[in-house]
């Protein structure tokens, strides 16, 4: 295989990975930053960084975790580069209403808004656990926390969602 063919093969493998994982990366970035413009920018930059260091990915089976880590770092960098204005939550919800919309399912739309309003420290581990399927240890590693702290955040995240939505899950018996 000559250099050009090898380059083409690498590009194709990278493109295949991106095609499969980009929707999840966009969703992750969206729930991280609660801003679709920011999510789009962060994922764009993250994928460019990923391409640059694609050789460092030893196992393509670990690509999702690898890319999520890059997205998370890129998200943090975006805050270093630019001081994002802290908008009030009602304005954020209104701005992203069409992403949060769930036609014909009021309960789903309410859950999305409740997740949107959840504090960052609770929302991120919940997203990693429920949407990305991470174990609590993997979340701890990703967020640089002790596993116990992750468990506490997950416990509180669900409690807040239940409280916010008035959902009853406690058996009365």
């Amino acid at each position: 295989m000559n250099g050009d063919e090898r380059g083409t093969d690498v590009r194709q493998r990278f493109a295949t990975l991106c095609e499969a994982l980009r929707p999840d990366l966009l969703r992750f970035a969206f729930w991280l930053g609660r801003d679709r413009q920011l999510a789009e920018d962060v994922v764009q930059e993250a994928l460019l960084r990923a391409w640059k260091s694609f050789d460092a990915l030893a196992e393509e089976g670990k690509a999702k975790s690898w890319l999520l880590t890059i997205v998370r770092r890129e998200f943090a960098r975006s805050f270093e580069r630019k001081r994002h204005e802290v908008a009030d939550l009602d304005a954020l919800v209104a701005a992203e209403a069409d992403v949060l919309a769930a036609e014909d399912d009021a309960g789903l739309a309410e859950m999305r808004e409740a997740l949107f309003r959840l504090d960052d420290e609770y929302r991120e581990p919940l997203v990693l656990q429920v949407m990305m399927g991470y174990s609590t240890q993997e979340i701890a590693d990703q967020m640089g926390l002790q596993r116990g702290a992750v468990l506490t955040r997950l416990f509180r995240a669900r409690a807040r969602l239940r409280q916010e939505l008035g959902i009853s899950v406690e058996p009365s018996s």
């Binding site: 493109a15 999840d24 009021a106 609590t136 008035g166 009853s168 018996s173």
Partner: protein, 228 residues
């Protein structure tokens, strides 16, 4: 593992399993149901998080690619062209096997037996808090509501009411998400019930098996304003 330890554990990890978890589930049905409810709530959270990526990806890809290419070395621009060329539009839907509607309804009613025994009428504001997000109101003639909560049912949040009737308390679940083409009759565990097609979805009405449910169900059905 005692009940408190179990509930702390599964509240952080509803999908948790293992010898300790399974042993406690086997000896404590209330805790098993608690975990099942949390798992159902997690399914709802999962559906909520799975927003349509195409709605996030609103930028004009061509413009974005041009901007990136202008400020990046050529090899990065090449990477950008790969990235930008990727189409998105994946919509995730959870497709898990579902127990029968009758089983779900009875399990839910049996899970909250104390809901049927209350006699204090729910304050109008509390009732509105349960029904308003659903776009639903109760017309006069519905009867006194002695229980009103929002519950997870089939991975959705649904209003769960108990209304007092001359023949005793009746459980009402408003199931906008669940369409039935004809009435579905239920009878099990000392309960009788019916799920009726409604203007939006369906309505499940369950009472004790000694009552004449048809007349009560008709009265309740007509007293629900579905907001259409």
């Amino acid at each position: 593992m005692n009940c408190l330890e179990f509930r702390r554990h599964v509240s952080a990890e509803p999908s948790a399993s293992g010898a300790g978890i399974e042993a406690h589930r086997a000896e404590c049905p209330a805790c098993a149901r608690f975990q099942d409810e949390l798992r159902a709530m997690d399914a709802l959270i999962g559906r909520a998080l799975a927003v349509d990526a195409a709605r996030i990806h609103k930028l004009d890809a061509a413009i974005a690619a041009t901007e990136i290419a202008a400020r990046r070395p050529r090899w990065l621009a090449l990477a950008a062209s790969i990235v930008i060329g990727i189409s998105v539009g994946l919509a995730l839907w959870i497709s898990l096997p579902r127990p029968s509607l009758a089983r779900e309804v009875f399990d839910h009613v049996a899970h909250e037996p104390d809901a049927m025994s209350g006699t204090a009428v729910v304050a109008q504001a509390s009732l509105a808090g349960v029904l308003d997000p659903y776009g639903t109101r109760l017309r006069p003639g519905f009867g006194d509501v002695t229980y009103a909560k929002r519950c997870i049912f089939e991975w959705r949040v649904v209003p769960h009411l108990v209304v007092q009737t001359p023949q005793g308390p009746v459980t009402v679940l408003l199931l906008r998400h669940r369409k039935v083409s004809e009435p579905v009759r239920l009878a099990e565990q000392g309960y009788v019930g019916v799920v009726l097609p409604a203007p939006r979805g369906s309505i499940a009405i369950v009472g004790r098996d000694q009552m004449d449910l048809d007349g009560i169900a008709r009265q309740i059905f007509e007293a629900v304003d579905w907001g259409d």
